[in-house]
């Protein structure tokens, strides 16, 4: 099944500057902050900035549309694809175009492209798995997702909910999917960042979701979560038997994060045990193997009961 996202207009393959130009691939792998690159940008784009389809303005527009298209289908915005689908022969203008596009996104939509964290490579096993997967370049992930930058007050379920409510006789699969991945991510975070397949299965069984869910079969839903970067499935055959673990994926970290997991727990427990916040801090805080300060606002954030939705949250630490 393809992802059943609720909104799609700009297709991923539409591009105002079409011809995919295969200019040196290596260029695209340069880290963002490579000073040489910036210099070259200026040289090369100087003469073009005002001219039609090659102008920064036009390219930025293309990138904005491409970013929105990616978001519709929950595909990360990848640097390489930007090069091929948006920039064409203007790959060197990446920085300028990217910044201009982010400016437009912010100004018009109140959103920004936020960089996805790299996958964790903590243990030998994970390193091996990451090497096998090998889609993450060593330094920057060169992948982004769109995130709302609006103040929390504007991010209520009514305003940016999970999507259109389906007609009576149709299941609200979109909402169900969001609920499921949020729950799975919460389980993983609460188990210290890694959850074995068996334990996840046990949790899902408790929700009567171990075989079938309103969205699809559990197997397919988990596969979709992995494909869309909410979770990462890690298979280790080192010891002879296959050991399967789940971790939180890059999109899961950015969109749900520990704060989202904490909010789910708060929503479930309501006025639960008095030391709920402490326990949360401990479970989520100590469990942090990644040390990335992406979502450590749990500790002092006010427990604003944000409901489980597809959170387009603002990062408190603005690390994009």
């Amino acid at each position: 099944m393809p992802p059943s996202t609720r909104k799609r207009r700009a297709p991923a393959d539409e591009d105002p500057a079409p011809t995919p130009v295969q200019r040196s691939r290596r260029q695209e792998e340069l880290p963002d902050d490579d000073p040489d690159e910036i210099d070259e940008n200026e040289e090369e784009t100087q003469g073009e900035s005002g001219s039609g389809s090659g102008s920064i303005e036009q390219l930025a527009k293309g990138l904005v549309r491409y970013a929105l298209a990616c978001e519709y289908s929950r595909v990360p915005i990848k640097r390489q694809d930007i090069g091929q689908k948006v920039l064409g022969s203007h790959t060197r203008a990446f920085r300028q175009v990217f910044d201009a596009a982010n400016g437009k996104l912010m100004d018009i939509f109140g959103m920004r492209m936020v960089e996805l964290p790299n996958r964790d490579k903590v243990t030998v096993r994970q390193r091996r798995a990451a090497a096998a997967a090998s889609d993450a370049p060593p330094k920057s992930s060169n992948m982004w997702v769109l995130q709302s930058m609006l103040p929390d007050a504007y991010r209520t379920p009514n305003i940016v909910g999970p999507g259109r409510e389906p007609p009576e006789d149709e299941p609200d699969t979109e909402a169900a999917y969001i609920g499921l991945y949020t729950a799975v991510i919460a389980f993983i975070f609460l188990s210290g960042g890694t959850l074995s397949e068996g334990k996840l299965d046990r949790q899902l069984r408790r929700m009567n979701a171990d075989r079938i869910t309103p969205v699809d079969s559990t197997e397919k839903v988990l596969a979709r979560m992995a494909r869309e970067g909410y979770i990462v499935k890690i298979k280790d055959s080192g010891s002879g038997d296959d050991v399967i673990d789940y971790m939180v994926g890059p999109r899961g970290k950015v969109e749900v994060g520990k704060e989202g997991a904490a909010n789910l727990v708060r929503a479930v427990y309501g006025d639960g045990p008095e030391d709920l916040e402490q326990r949360l801090n401990r479970s989520l805080g100590l469990g942090s193997e990644d040390g990335e300060a992406v979502h450590d606002e749990v500790s002092n954030a006010q427990p604003a009961p944000r409901r489980v939705g597809r959170p387009r949250r603002r990062d408190s630490d603005d690390d994009g």
């Binding site: 099944m1 393809p2 992802p3 059943s4 996202t5 609720r6 909104k7 799609r8 207009r9 700009a10 297709p11 991923a12 393959d13 539409e14 527009k61 904005v64 549309r65 929105l68 298209a69 978001e71 519709y72 289908s73 437009k104 912010m106 100004d107 018009i108 939509f109 109140g110 959103m111 709302s148 930058m149 609006l150 103040p151 007050a153 504007y154 209520t156 009514n158 305003i159 940016v160 909910g161 999970p162 999507g163 259109r164 389906p166 007609p167 149709e170 609200d172 699969t173 979109e174 597809r310 387009r312 603005d318």
Partner: protein, 326 residues
């Protein structure tokens, strides 16, 4: 960033309320006026927590003004918030529409190529097979819709138009070389997704037809695809117009009324026709174009598929009167 990013109560000024509404459209994609009211109320409260704003304070004017302001900004990106009235219940419906050329692929970004081809078969069925001079049904019944999941033996569903002009060839190319069938189960999922996303409506009688969102997004596409322009060199027969606009509101009619004269191109939405003919006091009701007597009983839409779909009238009595011209 600050909470007061370009902040102003002035409705003409672009601020967070517009951004939030735009985000609401990104996640909801299509909203009726009634669905918009609570959303906008909540946005305005978020903007000015001290002001008391009730859902019913949100008027058509509020919406129009916000939409205009947003459009002034998103037009440069080829997006637009459009509105149209639902043909069935007249609900004003808004959608964020992508203004570029190939809307079908835009609808379909989350479908596989085979599923896109299936959606094209559905559209072809609605607007060609099930849309003849005699019966303009422009809808497809549930069972048939699932049967269409099976791809035709050859890659020819786009040629159903028969004339195979350049347009259709390019469509066939777009659809890719080999089109595989969609499993019946998956076809049902596709249909249900299309309904959930507001592209298709499913009627009580089980017909799928285009919902307001699809009509807004596909307006140009439908006409380009299914209407054959006049004066095509090779053709001996007349141009075929399968998609027509309402005589009143000038929006596409897929559910409504048509002139009893099958040769006449006049189409109406029920409401638009009512308005028009109500204003024709005194005189007899006649089609504004061909002047045939207007009975308002020849339908467009699934009604045309039921009970013969023709006017249930009398055997010529009405046309007698017609000629009498009392």
């Amino acid at each position: 960033m600050s909470n007061r990013y370009a902040d102003s109560p002035d409705p003409g000024h672009y601020n967070h309320t517009h951004r939030a509404l735009l985000q609401a459209f990104l996640s909801q994609s299509v909203m009726t006026f009634d669905e918009l009211k609570p959303v906008i109320a909540e946005i305005l409260i978020a903007h000015e927590p001290d002001r008391e704003i009730l859902v019913n304070d949100i008027t058509q004017q509020t919406v129009t003004s916000m939409v205009q302001t947003i459009n002034a900004h998103v037009n440069a990106l080829d997006y637009e918030i459009r509105s149209t009235r639902n043909q069935n219940n007249r609900n004003l419906t808004y959608a964020l529409v992508n203004g570029t050329s190939d809307p079908l692929t835009q609808i379909a970004t989350s479908f596989t190529p085979d599923e896109i081809a299936y959606i094209k078969r559905l559209l072809d069925f609605m607007f060609e097979t099930n849309n003849t001079k005699i019966r303009e049904v422009m809808a497809v019944k549930g069972l048939k819709a699932v049967q269409l999941a099976k791809a035709p033996p050859r890659n020819r569903q786009s040629q159903a138009a028969g004339d195979g002009d350049g347009d259709e060839e390019s469509m066939a190319t777009q659809a890719g070389p080999v089109i595989k069938s969609v499993l019946p189960n998956d076809a049902e999922k596709v249909l249900s997704q299309l309904v959930v996303q507001g592209f298709f409506d499913r009627s009580h009688a089980g017909y799928y037809s285009l919902a307001p969102r699809a009509l807004m997004e596909l307006r140009t596409y439908l006409k380009e695809t299914y209407n054959e322009p006049p004066g095509d060199e090779d053709e001996d027969d007349e141009p075929v117009t399968r998609i027509r606009d309402c005589e009143g509101c000038r929006e596409i009619v897929t559910v409504g009324l048509r002139c009893d004269n099958k040769e006449c191109g006049v189409r109406w939405h029920d409401h638009c026709a009512m308005q028009y003919f109500r204003n024709q006091q005194g005189s007899r009701r006649r089609c504004p174009k061909c002047k045939a007597e207007w009975e308002g009983e020849t339908y467009v839409g699934e009604k045309a598929d039921q009970a013969g779909g023709r006017r249930r009238t009398t055997n010529g009595q009405s046309s007698m009167i017609d000629e009498d011209d009392e």
